[in-house]
């Protein structure tokens, strides 16, 4: 695992990826702190982070698009498969290298609140609490990006999928206000989701029976729930969308609440998507 980690890390710093990513993040945070902390003279650094997190839509896909897709393209994945290391070690090694690349600009950013504190009152716990959540938010999105990169051998495609996925996640809270809150609307949405899950399973496993089975089970469950007690489904869809939003969890910290459940949520998302990446790599051996 350390071999993969070191190798990936040297790869990032040999190529432009790490520098472009760091530059973008630092520019975004720089503009944010100029607007909020300097020009508007607001002492809350967390507002800057809130402003910057939209930038993840662009910079996370830049960072993660090549991580696994390129191995496939160059056929170096065959080397990784033939080395005496486990697949989860490959994915974890790669992910940790990405985290280090992400931590480099973040450690520079971590100095900003201290600098501002020299010129006025900065509530440091809120600033650093938000910074921690900001880090975890990025880490979770990197895990999502890693998984998307493992699905294809085309970097552009990986970025093209990751951008709308992150964007959708970003706007899911505002969208939640506009979606139907009625039980029937929720049922329709859940049925669509069940079908989509079926498609994803079909793509991942190339197993028709499993995909149909899972889809039909989910559809039956939704149908049964609707018939049994439709009131439970009311408002469920907006609720799910709000809860699934990674960004919404981060805003809790921005508002000055140190929310442990959010931290747990981020860690869960990270583990879940790394697990999916491992499965996606493993699946390549079985098709």
């Amino acid at each position: 695992m350390t071999a993969i980690w070191k190798h990936e890390l040297s790869g990032y710093f040999h190529s432009l990826t790490a520098y472009i990513f760091s530059a973008f993040l630092l520019v975004f945070v720089g503009i944010g702190s100029m607007l909020y902390n300097i020009q508007s003279a607001v002492a809350n650094f967390e507002y800057v982070l809130r402003f910057v997190c939209l930038g993840f839509v662009v910079i996370i896909p830049i960072l993660t698009m090549r991580v696994i897709a390129e191995e496939r393209k160059l056929k170096t994945d065959q080397l990784l498969y033939s080395l005496p290391i486990k697949t989860w070690q490959i994915v974890t090694g790669k992910y940790l290298a990405l985290l280090v690349v992400y931590l480099v600009p973040l450690s520079v950013i971590a100095l900003y609140p201290l600098i501002f504190a020299r010129f006025g009152e900065v509530y440091l716990p809120a600033a650093y609490g938000s910074l921690l959540a900001f880090f975890l938010l990025g880490a979770a999105l990197i895990a999502v990006g890693t998984f998307i990169s493992s699905l294809t051998e085309n970097q552009g495609f990986a970025a093209g999928i990751a951008i709308p996925v992150i964007l959708l996640n970003y706007y899911s809270v505002s969208l939640a206000e506009h979606v139907s809150a009625t039980a029937f609307g929720t049922v329709i949405a859940l049925l669509v989701i069940a079908a989509a899950i079926g498609f994803v399973i079909r793509y991942m496993t190339r197993n028709d029976n499993l995909a149909f089975g899972v889809s039909i089970l989910l559809i039956l469950a939704v149908g049964a729930l609707y018939l049994a007690d439709s009131s439970k489904l009311e408002g469920l869809l907006p609720d799910i969308m709000t809860r699934l939003s990674l960004f919404e969890q981060f805003y809790t910290f921005v508002n000055g609440v140190f929310d442990l459940t959010s931290l747990v949520y981020y860690v869960t998302v990270i583990i879940f998507f790394l697990f999916l990446s491992v499965q996606s790599l493993e699946k390549r051996r079985y098709n």
Binding site: G11, K75, Y81, P84
Partner: protein, 356 residues
């Protein structure tokens, strides 16, 4: 060293490898021979743990590749068809990564890297970016990578494809050297290559093992044993008349060349082809017709290969002309498959050498 039992691999409905079983001992160079799409790469990918099998078992030095992959993989060095290189690294960096991933550390790592660099002769380019290296050097870096960790088995998938003749000879010498210390398995669709460096040959076609023997034994296995080709000034009818007078000769082909010369090729089942040559000579001499050229051709691996791999295809397509004509038709097609021109000329050169 390697045991493959009832290996089967299906891609959807397509069966790439079906019920393949063989055993490979320690030491020596083994050749995996088969036309394109015969299942060579698939078998090698399964043996190295890059691919799962639909059914069957692979054991490397007693370790099951599916059940104890780490242990088994430590015994294998693998060079896939396309060398798995990171283009924006130097060979030294690349080898350091692979060495570490194979569990080497510190001084051990440095000495092993030094050794493989020396063995594969990449000392001069070890600090240049792999992207700038020629194909031959890339191939060597790929082999160097496979050698790290001193594995007992080295598996090379078409190691000489796309190299120029000098590079091919160098890589072959390297493989021969490796065969002294390791078990080397290489795949190829170039027959002369396998004949030149392998001590044992596995012929695979349509995902099945067709033969497993030494090149010499495979040649004797061939049904259409030896052939005598000659050019005579006798006309076609006269030649046939003379040939029918020799009792040991039952099958021949005769074509008329310019200046009323006949080119004849005679199939010989006799254990002493020289004896037939002698009889031919005197038979034509009695008629005052000179034999202008005469050569006896030993069946080579190419014939065995075509017979073994095409035999099945011919059975499947009975409308195809059987026998010699079909062979002649398929031979050029076979050579076209050797994707690189250099490799092709290499085959021809080697064949003519063998004939001489």
């Amino acid at each position: 060293m390697i045991t493959v039992e009832h290996l089967t691999k299906c891609y959807g409905d397509f069966m790439a490898v079906s019920d393949l079983s063989f055993e490979i001992g320690e030491g020596h160079v083994y050749g995996f021979l088969g036309p394109n799409g015969a299942g060579k790469s698939t078998t090698m990918n399964i043996m190295t743990g890059c691919l799962s099998a639909t059914e069957g078992k692979v054991k490397i030095g007693g370790c099951d590749i599916f059940e104890e992959p780490e242990k088994a993989k430590r015994l294998i060095g693998y060079l896939p068809e396309q060398p798995p290189l990171y283009m924006n690294e130097t060979p030294a960096e690349y080898l350091r990564f692979v060495g570490r991933a194979k569990g080497l550390k510190g001084r051990e790592l440095a000495t092993q890297i030094g050794e493989v660099i020396e063995q594969t002769k990449i000392e001069d380019v070890k600090n240049r970016l792999i992207a700038t290296l020629s194909k031959g050097y890339r191939q060597r870096v790929g082999i160097a990578q496979a050698l790290l960790g001193n594995p007992k088995v080295i598996i090379l998938d078409e190691p000489t494809v796309g190299l120029d003749p000098i590079q091919i000879i160098e890589i072959r010498d390297l493989i021969r050297q490796l065969g002294e210390k390791h078990t080397v398995i290489l795949s190829s669709h170039i027959l002369s290559e396998v004949q030149a460096i392998c001590e044992k040959v596995l012929i695979i076609a349509h995902g099945k093992l067709q033969a497993f023997d030494s090149p010499e034994n495979l040649e004797t296995l061939l049904r259409s044993s030896n052939e005598i080709d000659f050019l005579t000034e006798a006309g076609k009818e006269e030649t046939e008349e003379i040939l029918s007078g020799i009792s040991q000769i039952t099958e021949w082909e005769c074509s008329v060349q310019e200046e009323a010369l006949s080119r004849v090729s005679v199939k010989v089942d006799h254990e002493k082809p020289r004896e037939i040559c002698r009889q031919l000579f005197f038979a034509f001499a009695d008629r005052k017709k000179a034999i202008l050229e005469l050569s006896s051709r030993k069946a080579n691996l190419e014939d065995v290969f075509i017979e073994l791999t095409e035999g099945e295809a011919l059975q499947e397509m009975p409308q195809e002309p059987a026998g010699k004509e079909a062979e002649n038709e398929q031979r050029p097609a076979e050579k076209k498959e050797a994707s690189e021109k250099t490799a092709e000329s290499e085959v021809n050169a080697d064949d003519s050498n063998m004939e001489a």
